[in-house]
Amino acid sequence: MSKTPTRIGLGKDLTGLEDLSGDTIRAILDTAEPFKEISERPIKKVPVLRGKTIVNLFLEPSTRTRISFEFAEKRLGADTVNISASGSSVVKGETLVDTARNLEAMRIDMVVIRHSSSGAAQFLADRIPSNVINAGDGQHEHPTQALLDMLTLRDRLGRIEGLKVCIVGDIVHSRVARSNIFGLQALGNEVAVCGPKSLIPYGIEELGVRTFPHVEEAIEWADALNVLRLQLERMKTGFIPSLREYNRVFGVSRARLEQAPRETVILHPGPMNRGVEIDSDVADGPQSVILPQVTNGVAVRMAVLYLLAGGQPGGAEAAKQESE
């Protein structure tokens, strides 16, 4: 089900960053810039998606991402409906496709989906004509999180190429790590990962990613650390000895950052386990951009919604004709 792609190289959907070019990613980040200002207005709303219906299908718990998408949708003037797994027909055994087809039958325009299975977003995108945006699928991708990470890095460091970014922590369970690796590399940055061996995916060097077994080395090397949460809910047994042990060996602490040859920028996608993967004085310190990440999340999601919503037949050609 293909609609005419928009000029910048986005298709009907945004399911991941793996197949996007650096130019496309840069265009999304550039489009996000003017959207920042809308959230600072007295009336935080523009009518560009007026009359569009967007379903936020969050079949896995999420607070930040769901609210961020909802703000983005509402500030563009769209009508939104939120569906969570509990309290929907999903608990009665309805399949994902049936849920989506029923929504389609009520004439929706876009679906933002969060799902515990890798590939769920693409599966849906291939089966319904609405635009599908992946808000995190299993251990696959979380593209808008990586986009807001990159926008925040660009804001802080003035560029988003030629940087060295190390992702620290639970890489194996992390869709955020995967999306960041694809996106950062497409823009010409170097990416490394750091964490206990049990939490580094086997064969990650095939993605062109280097691995640091010690967090001190990662801090020595990197311009920025993207510190990931230990996803305790996804760990059945045996990934780490204990939380205290993890903090002692891999925790990002003030003392460790003071050894860095430069002002390392600290990102964290949230929610944080303070005192585990990141210490409080780092999370709240001057090098942290954790709250700017949240602010930028709304702008990036507005940009993605805006770009996908316009991808209609004849769009690209007609868009070239400006009127006075």
């Binding site: 000029r7 489009t31 200002e37 209609q312």
Partner: protein, 183 residues
């Protein structure tokens, strides 16, 4: 089929634009400059608003505040023509409520841009009054919108294009009428 020949005619040279802006400034001045704010519409309205503000400031010794408006997200044809990934930043001075706002644009044609601008402006506050100043009025209105202050008026057809050039974006200051003949 022969290639249509387009002709370009200069309606105003740099001096002509300066004169037209001076006339516009003087008309705007007649309404008082006490609580005046000039808001340019992206892109070329912004440069024209800056020029008008400079003229007004020079004659009064008082800075006239300016702002810029990008109407992309308020267009009425978004769903027909697809997105324009490049959106400019809107920058409105702190308070427009209770002030006299003069919206500045380069060319007035269908009036749809101004419709969008008025809607967007209303989301920033409630001005005492809103007026419209344009460098060129080329006719062809599709909405009941008229300018309060006009630099020059020209008769045009749908096939014509009126191009306003400003040094900041185009390297020169002029108004060009580009005509392509009909079938």
């Amino acid at each position: 089929m022969t290639a249509p020949e387009t002709t370009a005619r200069e309606l105003l040279d740099a001096e002509g634009v300066e004169e037209a802006l001076a006339r516009l400034a003087s008309k705007i001045e007649d309404g008082g400059t006490e609580d005046l704010v000039l808001i340019g519409i992206r892109r070329r309205g912004v440069q024209l608003a800056e020029r008008l503000a400079t003229i007004l400031s020079d004659s009064h010794g008082k800075v006239v505040p300016t702002g810029s408006l990008d109407i992309t997200l308020y267009r009425d044809d978004f769903h027909q023509v697809g997105p324009r990934p490049v959106i400019g930043v809107t920058d409105i001075p702190d308070k427009i409520t209770g002030r006299r706002v003069v919206v500045v644009d380069d060319v007035l044609f269908t009036g749809r841009t101004i419709r969008a601008a008025l809607n967007e402006l209303a989301d920033f506050g409630r001005p005492r009054c809103v007026e419209l100043a344009v460098l060129v009025d080329r006719g062809g209105r599709e909405l009941p919108i008229q300018a309060d202050h006009v630099g020059i008026s020209v008769e045009t057809t749908d096939r014509d294009q009126v191009e306003v050039k400003v040094p900041e974006l185009d390297g020169s200051l002029s108004v060009i009428l580009v005509s392509s003949p009909g079938e």
